[in-house]
Amino acid sequence: MITKEDVEHIGWLARIEISEQEKAEYMEKLNSVLDYFGQLDEVATEDVSPTYHVIDLHNVFREDVAAESLPQEKVLANTENKQEGAFKVPRIG
């Protein structure tokens, strides 16, 4: 059962601002979904290993050679907030 404080904490972790009014609504809807997830407790999984991925590929490497990449102006084309060829954000901290 997640509380209003949990919702605030998850919102902070996920970087999503949540209004006072939304908190109650999220609490209700998130709890109904998490209740449903609780049914997995019925399944015995002590000796089962997890499947992160279905295909049998490990450590996919490529040759360490430089290839063509996108030109800087194309990469910066989707934002207004740029300066001297860099993305511009508010002071961090």
């Binding site: 999503i16 049914q39 997995l40 999984t45 590929l57």
Partner: protein
């Protein structure tokens, strides 16, 4: 005669007799009259491109053939909104691998199709650009999340389309709209240039009005691509070679768990009729059991939401997309994401964040991954005895717009027959197999990894001996 609803083979013949320009113009005309809100963007370059192809002399297996692309697959120069305010004005500076392949083959991209926001949904109602309407009944949803791609194909606004399928997002709308859809084996089609939602589950795949056109499209888009590290280096498959009208001796497994409570009687009847029809065509069937099916839905949603919470972290208002003003770095990102994402996307990110957070990781995420192993083993066991599995794609026909959108859990439950397939990574098709109360029903055919040829042969044989795929929705005729 207009090219609307023609097969790709018929379109190629028409291009030979008249021009690619005429064919593209026919589709642009059909799109202009659309009642279904299937496209987010119609390309203003399509007609020009078709003229170029005419002047170059129709080179390539799809020379001049129009196609629609789901709005989460990057096409250089066309907006790639993912159905979200967050990416409303984002224009990719590069092409997805599948788009490079389509352009090489000579295809003409008509536009980008509407979808559930970031592919999260089964009804296409969560799109920032409004819901897509089902061509068979304009009061109903087309399914989702590739609802735009399925609906434009059903409505004759594109001969075929690309979608993506994370937990049923190609097969669900194919079923609701009465078209054919294929979710390929995980790793068969490169995801380079597709916007990630849950990357261990999703695949790009085709939707079309007939099985042959699905194979035509697979021959173009499938194959290894080094830019997707999960792309499997298999031998090149000839998908069109699989199109044979012959399923004599085919062994069909019918998983009883896929006919559970809540299935509509009309769907159940149509699917069993289809299985018996295959029997009459020389196949045999037996019941099989996949005991972990009931846990697949919870496992799927935990994994999908966890992966989403990580994948969607990139939308922070910095490099592209929507940006809300903020005094600090944290407040800028938090406000940007609060305003830029819709309700369902935020719910999934929040639940995924919770499932991965300290103290809950083992209870939710790790548990879901272990259940995933059991679900996958169910498939391995069942498919060691039979060639294909057959089941309903969706337990119900298309529901009404607004009917389920307020209750997330009710909407998730409708994916009960599609999500296990993505957990296991096996290929699966939805094929029209009948109608209930005037609405299409989809037969789901599930196969072994990389055995798309057997799926295509089965679907093709069923289609050649039935006429469901050739019926057209009256409201958009």
């Amino acid at each position: 005669m207009t090219a609307k609803w023609m097969s790709v083979a018929e379109i190629k013949q028409k291009i030979g007799e008249s021009s690619a320009e005429e064919v593209t113009a026919d589709y642009l005309e059909a799109i202009k009259k659309s009642k279904i809100n299937g496209y987010v963007t119609v390309s203003d370059r399509a007609l020009e491109k078709s003229k170029e192809i005419d002047s170059e002399g129709h080179k390539g297996p799809l020379a001049g053939v129009p196609i629609a692309i789901k709005d989460n697959i990057s096409v250089q120069g066309l907006p790639n909104s993912c159905g979200s305010r967050m990416l409303e004005n984002y224009v990719p500076p590069f092409n997805a691998h599948v788009i490079e392949k389509l352009i090489e083959a000579g295809a003409v991209i008509l536009g980008k199709t509407n979808m559930d926001e970031f592919a999260m949904g089964s009804s296409t109602e969560s799109s920032y650009f409004g819901p897509v309407l089902n061509p068979w009944d304009l009061e109903r949803v087309p399914g989702g999340s590739s609802g735009g791609s399925a609906a434009v194909v059903a409505a004759g606004e594109a001969p075929f389309a690309l979608g993506s399928d994370t937990g049923g997002s190609i097969r669900c709308p194919a079923s609701f709209c009465g078209v054919v859809g294929l979710k390929p084996t995980y790793g068969a089609v490169s995801r380079y240039g597709a916007v990630a939602y849950a990357n261990s589950l999703e695949q790009i795949g085709p939707l079309a009005n007939n099985v042959e056109d699905i194979a035509v499209l697979m021959d173009v888009i499938a194959g290894h691509d080094a830019r997707d590290s999960t792309s499997v280096p298999e031998e090149k498959t000839d998908y069109q070679a699989a199109l044979k009208d012959d399923i004599k001796g085919l062994k069909i497994g019918v998983p009883k768990e896929y006919f559970g409570e809540g299935i509509s009687p009309g769907v159940e009847k149509a699917v069993w009729d289809a299985i018996h029809h295959c029997e009459a065509l020389g196949a045999s069937w037996e019941e099989v059991s996949m005991p972990h099916t009931k846990y697949a839905l919870a496992s799927y949603y935990i994994i999908a939401m966890s992966e989403a919470s990580s994948n969607l972290a990139r939308f922070d208002g910095t490099r592209y997309g929507f940006r809300e003003a903020g005094e600090t770095w944290h407040s800028l990102i938090s406000k940007t994401r609060a305003e830029g994402f819709g309700d369902e996307v935020k719910r999934r990110i929040l639940i995924g964040t919770y499932a991965l957070s300290a103290g809950y990781h083992d209870k939710y995420y790790l548990k879901a991954l272990k259940v995933r192993t059991l679900v996958k083993q169910d498939f391995e066991k069942a498919l060691s005895k039979v060639d294909v599995l057959m089941a309903p794609t969706m337990p119900n026909p298309a529901f009404k717009v607004g009917e389920k959108i307020e209750d997330p859990l009710a909407l998730y439950l409708s994916d009960v027959n599609t999500v296990p397939i993505n957990l296991a990574g096996v290929p699966s098709m939805s094929v029209p197999c009948g109608f209930t109360d005037g609405l299409p029903v989809g037969l789901q055919i599930i196969g072994k990894p990389f055995d798309e040829p057997t799926l295509l042969r089965t679907a093709y044989t069923f289609e050649q001996n039935t006429d469901y795929h050739s019926r057209r929705p009256p409201e958009v005729a």
